[in-house]
């Protein structure tokens, strides 16, 4: 018995190509049925995400299974699929890497594990998962958990929005009921505000030199518009200030903030300065309870997280290798050492 993995991912195919081969949740049952009809395929799990379309199959003849899969995909999409393929043990290693986020576009992302679990559950429900596949996927979930806890592969945020969310979380804990003020209705402030909203921020005040623009953005994100001349009036009640005005001078200075901070009774203030040139005087970061991050420091944290993750890859790979060995021992104990690689007759 062999484990076959075949598919295409974000490294091999552009999104225009990937989207043509993607399998929707509602089509998964039919797809699994067709895959099981391929000669020599005993079981199949199909993983379809925005970054990859992959088949994991238990098969007596991987070569035939691969050709069958290629035909099904070509028939679906109307074009030849640029497939990669692996058999045992590389297929096992590949799944463990995928589930652990090592094969993802943003290395160490954790969403993929949920998607792998979902794909496995769909196959199990459709009766398409055989004993080796059950064992393989259960093992993959354990590997992913172990890689996550024993290394820093998921450490830190990797985009400006997620950095802002993490920092806000480290200042305020829960973001539910926190209030945000946006000064200057730029696209990046909007994205950052949306990231914060996705974590529970309820109240957003938008203030812009052009009131109409503020009103439009406020309507779009479910916030409230405020005339730019009055932004200081809302200052006492906010927790997070996102600033990205086109002002030629600094609008947040220690002199301006000092009387406003007194109104806050010691509550912390998170200032996200996304403007270039900057809106906030860097020295406000020295003020008690004020945490200032400009675009450079946010980007630096994102890239720092990615560096940490990249440095962890070797540790993850060696952990995965131990698990591959463990899984192969189990396979040998069940099926003997006669697993057939590609190019040889079953």
């Amino acid at each position: 018995m062999n484990i076959l993995c075949a598919g295409l991912n974000h490294r091999m195919a552009h999104i225009d190509v990937r989207e043509r081969f993607a399998v929707r949740e509602t089509e998964m049952g039919d797809m699994l049925g067709r895959l099981r009809e391929i000669e020599g395929v005993t079981g199949a799990v199909m993983l379809s995400t925005c970054n990859r379309v992959e088949l994991y199959a238990s098969s007596l003849c991987p070569l035939r299974a691969l050709e069958g899969f290629r035909l099904i995909l070509a028939d679906r999409a109307g074009l030849e699929a640029p497939l990669y393929h692996h058999d045992t043990p590389h297929a096992v290693r590949h799944l463990f890497r995928v589930a652990s986020g090592l094969d993802s576009m943003v290395i160490g992302e954790t969403e993929i594990l949920g998607q792998v679990k979902k794909a496995y559950a769909a196959a199990a429900e459709a009766g398409a998962a055989t004993r080796p596949l059950h064992k393989l996927f259960q093992h993959a979930f354990r590997v992913a958990k172990s890689v996550r806890t024993a290394t820093q592969i998921t450490s830190g945020p990797t985009s400006i929005g997620s950095v802002a969310v993490e920092l806000a979380g480290k200042i305020f804990g829960s973001l539910v009921d926190r209030r945000v003020m946006i000064l200057g209705a730029g696209e990046i402030s909007e994205r950052t505000a949306r990231s914060l909203q996705s974590r529970g921020v309820r109240s957003v005040i938008v203030s812009n030199r052009t009131y109409e623009r503020a009103a439009a953005l406020a309507a779009e994100i479910g916030g409230m518009a405020l005339h730019f001349d009055h932004w200081e009036k809302g200052f006492a009640d906010i927790d997070i200030l996102i600033s990205s005005t086109n002002a030629p001078h600094m609008i947040l200075t220690p002199e301006k903030l000092e009387p406003l901070l007194k109104l806050r009774r010691g509550a912390p203030l998170f200032v996200i300065d996304l403007a270039v040139p900057r809106d906030a005087d860097p020295s406000i970061n020295e003020m008690d309870g004020v945490f200032l991050y400009d675009i450079d420091s946010l980007e630096q944290i994102a890239s720092q997280s990615l560096d940490v993750r990249r440095q962890e890859v070797d540790r993850c790979e060696s952990l995965i290798e131990q698990h591959v060995g463990g899984f192969l021992s189990w396979m040998r104990s069940i099926h003997g050492p006669e697993a057939t690689p590609f190019g040889k007759k079953a």
């Binding site: 806890t149 024993a150 820093q152 450490s155 830190g156 993490e166 920092l167 979380g169 480290k170 200042i171 305020f172 804990g173 009774r265 010691g266 509550a267 912390p268 970061n285 008690d288 309870g289 945490f291 200032l292 991050y293 420091s297 630096q300 944290i301 720092q304 940490v308």
Partner: protein
């Protein structure tokens, strides 16, 4: 047997501390179950020691500085075991272990034979003494949370956070934990004073004024934080400094008690 219980507790705390250091050195910031279990075993061993001392003396086992320090470190460990997991204050164990270990080692090095006569079996006197030390335990843990706050705030201000930043709790939660612990300590200390009054406990003037100073210090911290006069950072500094002051004063108070 008593010595064995003490050594066992020290080894447990040493394990907890060593494991934390090793985990931090290896870039792992979730001391997790091992740390918690080691702390729990340490607290159990100390509890065993204290119960043996209590049975031997037929009184609350706080008859000398060594016993007081053990009782104090036991209180700190116990409060951590209750509130640490409840508030999801990850890494608090990592910060608590060295403090508890230090108190335990100092207690081991102190001569333990000299017992003061003022703890004659009187339930109110013992309640007074035990509550005072548990109150200091709460203040001790508030000090730990204060240190954690200062580390995390420093990370946030630096704008180049180190990996530990991702594993420390948010400063607002730490600030809230400090306030609650100071409240718990303050209430326990007040109750302990009340028990002392009921027992008509006679203490030396020095001890009385030192105790009152600590009580007013923490009362001031609570009022300041309630009125919004103290920022999170000032609260963290004040609680840490107040506990360190109390720790320094503890042997002085103890000495004064011995001469009272």
């Amino acid at each position: 047997m008593e010595r064995i219980a003490l050594l066992l507790a020290t080894i447990c705390y040493l394990f907890s501390f060593g494991h934390t250091l090793f985990a931090l050195g290896a870039g792992r910031f979730q001391p997790g179950r091992f740390n918690f279990i080691a702390m729990a075993m340490g607290a159990l061993s100390q509890g065993w020691y204290l119960s043996m001392r209590g049975a031997a003396e037929h009184a609350c086992p706080i008859g000398n500085l060594a016993e007081i320090l053990i009782f104090l470190s036991w209180s700190i460990a116990l409060i951590y075991l209750v509130i640490g997991p409840a508030y999801r204050l990850s890494l608090m164990g990592a910060f608590t272990a060295p403090m508890v270990l230090l108190l335990q080692i100092v207690a081991l090095l102190l001569p333990g034979e000299i017992r003061h006569g003022f703890f004659r079996p009187n339930p109110w006197v013992e309640t007074h003494a035990a509550l005072s030390i548990v109150a200091y335990g709460a203040y001790g843990l508030a000090c730990v949370a204060g240190f954690m706050f200062m580390v995390q705030e420093g990370q946030l201000k630096s704008r180049r956070p180190a990996p530990i930043f991702h594993h420390l709790p948010p400063i607002s939660i730490l600030s809230e934990a400090i306030k609650r612990l100071v409240w718990i300590g303050f209430l326990l200390l007040s109750l302990s004073f009340a028990a002392g009054f009921i027992a008509r406990l006679m203490v030396s003037g020095g001890k009385f004024w030192f105790s009152l100073l600590i009580w007013f210090l923490y009362a001031g911290i609570l009022v300041g934080s309630k009125q919004g006069l103290l920022s999170g950072r000032q609260l963290a500094i004040a609680t840490s400094a107040a506990f360190l002051l109390a720790l320094i004063l503890l042997p002085v108070i103890e000495k004064l008690s011995a001469h009272a």
